[in-house]
């Protein structure tokens, strides 16, 4: 087994662990946030400040009795939570969270992500279909229609930064975003595209005000009405992970990725100062030495030399990861805030909103971006700029494949 492959596997394990914990604590944070918005206390009984609540919930869910409807299509019924869950989980395999901190750096990550998010919808649709029950059936119909309508707008908004940067890899988009290719005119399209993306992501992940597929006031629990125990838990799990993933995508696409730049002056055309590596700057200031000196990683006697480099974390990696997580947290908290505030839309209004507003606006934005890129090309590049002259990806992905 090549070191690279092993690295991917080990990193995958670490990512999975982190994500599962993140999901558990996202439910906790969401409950605490909602409680805060509604003048309540929220879960505070299990452990200090209720911190063990997710653990208790997990144990409870696993121990619940499992019931399968008699008439259900057993194979699809068992499969669909797995599909929904795996697709959402897989999304994170494509998203870099910091410099050098990723599972895979795929050149067409954006396309794959869209594919995975559509695949996740299959899980939900099949879940409702295979339950052989009326409310889940209605729920899956709604999911079907909703995902199709909003995926279009979602894809179009993602095209805006893709056209500007000319790349489908998150690392490139993040790297070029505020770089020398920056042109403040892009804000004209990027800002509305970002807002549109957030709305579409809300709909795609089925959160308020677009939580129609599972809205409990109308169709009980939608597609997962007939699910119980762990199979049920996999749906909300997938949903939370999808919410996290879409926040991550939004950060990469519209918030400058894991970089942290501050403007050198009020004038937006002036270069930005890169302080992405703030941990590194701190380390330099303090002057860590010996065992504490970066890069940080597992003990050297545990991990052989060829693997160590890819499993360790440099100050740059750490600071970018933290920056990325902070940006993501802001978006996730926004999602929670929206959930606490807004009523739910009606099915036909949702469709109208998607097809008659989101889609045309998305198309117009894509058109405007194309015009902008031609007439106001990225600063520092030639007017007849083609994709070949764009900055190359930071990491040579080809190496990974070559060594197999």
């Amino acid at each position: 087994m090549s070191p690279e492959l092993l690295t991917i596997i080990v990193r995958g394990g670490i990512f999975t662990l982190c994500l599962l914990t993140a999901f558990a604590y996202l439910t906790f944070i969401e409950r605490r946030m909602l409680a805060f918005f509604t003048w309540r206390v929220g879960p505070n009984r299990v452990g200090p400040w209720g911190l063990f609540q997710p653990v208790a919930d997990g144990v409870k869910t696993i121990l619940k009795q499992e019931m399968v409807p008699m008439k259900a299509d057993k194979v699809l019924y068992m499969m669909s939570p797995v599909i929904a869950f795996a697709a959402c989980f897989g999304m994170f395999g494509l998203i870099p969270v910091g410099e050098g901190v990723w599972m895979s750096n795929v050149p067409v990550a954006v396309l794959l992500l869209l594919g995975l998010s559509s695949l996740g919808a299959y899980g939900l649709i099949l879940a409702g279909w295979s339950s052989q029950s009326r409310y889940p059936f209605l729920g899956s119909l709604r999911t079907c229609a909703q995902v199709i309508s909003y995926e279009l707008a979602l894809g179009l908004t993602l095209l805006v930064p893709v056209i500007i940067t000319g790349s489908l890899s998150f690392n490139d988009i993040g790297n070029i975003y505020w770089g020398p290719h920056w042109n403040p005119l892009y804000l004209l399209v990027l800002l509305p595209a970002g807002l549109l993306f957030l709305v579409a992501a809300c709909a795609e992940t089925g959160r308020v005000p677009f939580d129609l597929p599972e809205c409990e006031a109308e169709i009980v629990a939608g597609y997962h009405t007939e699910y119980s125990s762990m199979k049920y838990a996999m749906f909300p799990m997938g949903e939370y992970i999808a919410m996290t993933a879409f926040s991550a995508i939004a950060v990469h696409m519209f918030l400058g990725g894991y970089h942290l730049y501050i403007p050198s002056s009020i004038d937006l055309t002036q270069p930005w100062i890169n302080i992405s590596n703030w941990v590194g700057l701190l380390v330099d200031k303090i002057g860590l030495s010996g065992a504490l000196a970066p890069p940080w990683g597992p003990p050297k006697w545990l991990v052989p030399e060829p693997y160590w480099a890819s499993l360790s974390l440099s100050p740059a990696g750490l600071s970018t990861t933290l920056t990325f997580l902070a940006k993501m947290a802001i978006l996730i908290l926004t999602f929670m805030w929206v959930r606490a505030t807004l009523p739910r839309m009606r099915y036909d209004q949702l469709m109208r909103f998607g097809w008659k507003l989101m889609l045309p606006v998305g198309l117009v934005l894509v058109f405007l971006t194309s015009v902008l890129v031609v007439f106001a090309p990225p600063a520092g590049s030639e007017a007849e700029d083609d994709y070949g002259s764009r900055p190359q990806p930071v990491v040579e992905v080809e190496d990974v494949y070559a060594s197999r």
Binding site: T38, R134, E216, A217, A340, L342, P343, R346, Y347, Q349
Partner: protein, 405 residues
């Protein structure tokens, strides 16, 4: 309705391509155990038939087996979200049967309590209505606000919900110490709260889209169904028992009857919100009158139809015997019949009491607004979407305890 909808109907019985969905009796947004059977074409409701009787408590029948005083305890359990309204309507009917003057202070307390009751009932209505529409926070805000009044309830009646505070001939006790201050504190809190809620919902585009043009009933339909309360006033019929046939000295209070003309869910919402502000106005006036009548009696002066004072029971044997007979045998109103109605939070709540001169009524018939208003559910829902059924049920503001009684 020629054929009732059943989930196991064959394709011939229902329309081709239609499915029959059972909404309730266990459903998150049918506000209790209402069962609505829907025939759906996709998401569109073709037919909608409400089935009731899942919370039948037999309260009307029970009334014939208990004496007039004990009966009061049943009625607060009928519409359990506005307990004092029910007590009040029943007591007014019995008082009509007996005849007699209710002391002013008792009337003022009754007015205050029935307005507060309207507020707590509307709080639950607004909270659940908003929750059905997905605005979950509003529910908690309303519950918090309701709690303040529930505490006043506890202060004055000793219980949070089933108070049995309003009695034939007046009220059970005078207001306790601290009640006026509590009322004043609530009066101060309530308007900012209303501003906040209306700021959240009134101009909220999603809220308006969900409610405007949904479940529309025009004036004629509303009148032909005999609908009352906010549903009637939202369709442009300015009718309010408090103003048209004043009881409990409502004529001494200055208030408006809010009317809207669209007849949709949003108009009902606006009517109720404006009603809440009117209630606040009435309670503020009531508090003033309460202060003016401090120390005056709260129960009518009657040997036969009022319980003796506690200090008298300990003083002499006649009062002790009277006390004993009053509570065990009950009072015996003259034979006859009487109907009294009030404007409860959900519409006109009427009690029709028939007496044969004994201590137990021969018949107590309740005209429950929830029951009457529910009849129009089908007319409001057909042709709309499932989501609108939920909005309409919320806008009717039903309490199944009163529908089934």
């Amino acid at each position: 309705m020629s054929t009732l909808l059943a989930p196991n109907m064959t394709v011939e019985e229902r329309g081709a391509g239609h499915i029959i969905v059972n909404m309730g009796p266990q459903h998150p947004s049918t506000h209790g155990v209402l069962r609505v059977v829907l025939e759906l074409d996709g998401e569109t409701v073709v037919r909608c038939v409400p089935h009731i009787g899942y919370l039948h408590t037999g309260i009307e029948k029970l009334s014939e087996y208990h004496n007039y005083i004990k009966n009061i305890t049943h009625y607060c359990r009928m519409d359990y979200l506005s307990p004092m309204n029910n007590e009040l309507a029943y007591c007014l009917a019995v008082e009509k049967l007996i005849g007699g003057e209710i002391p002013a202070r008792a009337s003022y307390i009754r007015v205050i309590m029935s307005e507060l009751t309207r507020v707590i009932s509307h709080m639950i209505w607004l909270g659940t209505h908003a929750l059905d529409m997905g605005a979950s926070s509003v529910f908690f805000y309303c519950a918090t606000e309701r709690e303040k009044i529930i505490e006043l309830y506890e202060m004055i009646g000793g219980q949070r919900m089933m108070t049995s505070y309003i009695r034939v001939g007046g009220v059970k006790d005078d207001t306790p110490e601290g009640f006026e201050e509590g009322l004043e504190a609530w009066l101060g809190d309530f308007m900012p709260f209303m501003d906040m809620i209306e700021g959240l919902l009134n101009e909220n585009p999603i809220w308006k889209e969900r409610t405007q043009g949904v479940g529309v009933l025009d004036q004629d339909t509303v009148i032909s169904y005999g609908l009352m309360g906010p549903l009637l006033r939202a369709a442009g019929v300015p009718q309010d028992v408090r103003r048209d046939e004043p009881y409990c000295r409502y004529e001494e209070f200055d208030f408006e009857v809010p009317v809207e003309y669209e007849g949709d869910v949003y108009a009902r919402y606006r009517v109720r919100m404006r009603e809440l502000r009117e209630s606040h106005k009435i309670v503020a006036q009531g508090l003033q009158k309460l202060r003016e009548t401090r120390g005056m009696p709260v129960m009518w002066a009657s040997d036969e139809f009022a319980p003796p004072k506690r200090q008298d029971i300990y003083a002499d044997i006649e009062n002790l015997i009277h006390h004993f007979k009053y509570w065990t045998e009950g009072m015996k109103p003259p034979a006859g019949e009487a109907y009294a109605s009030i404007e409860s939070s959900k519409g006109e709540l009427g009690f029709y009491v028939v007496s044969d001169g004994s201590a137990k009524p021969v018949r107590v018939k309740v005209r429950g607004p929830s029951f009457v208003n529910l009849a129009a559910l089908g007319a409001m829902c057909e042709g709309h979407l499932i989501a609108d059924v939920v909005a309409v049920i919320g806008s009717i503001d039903i309490v199944l305890g009163e529908v089934d009684r």
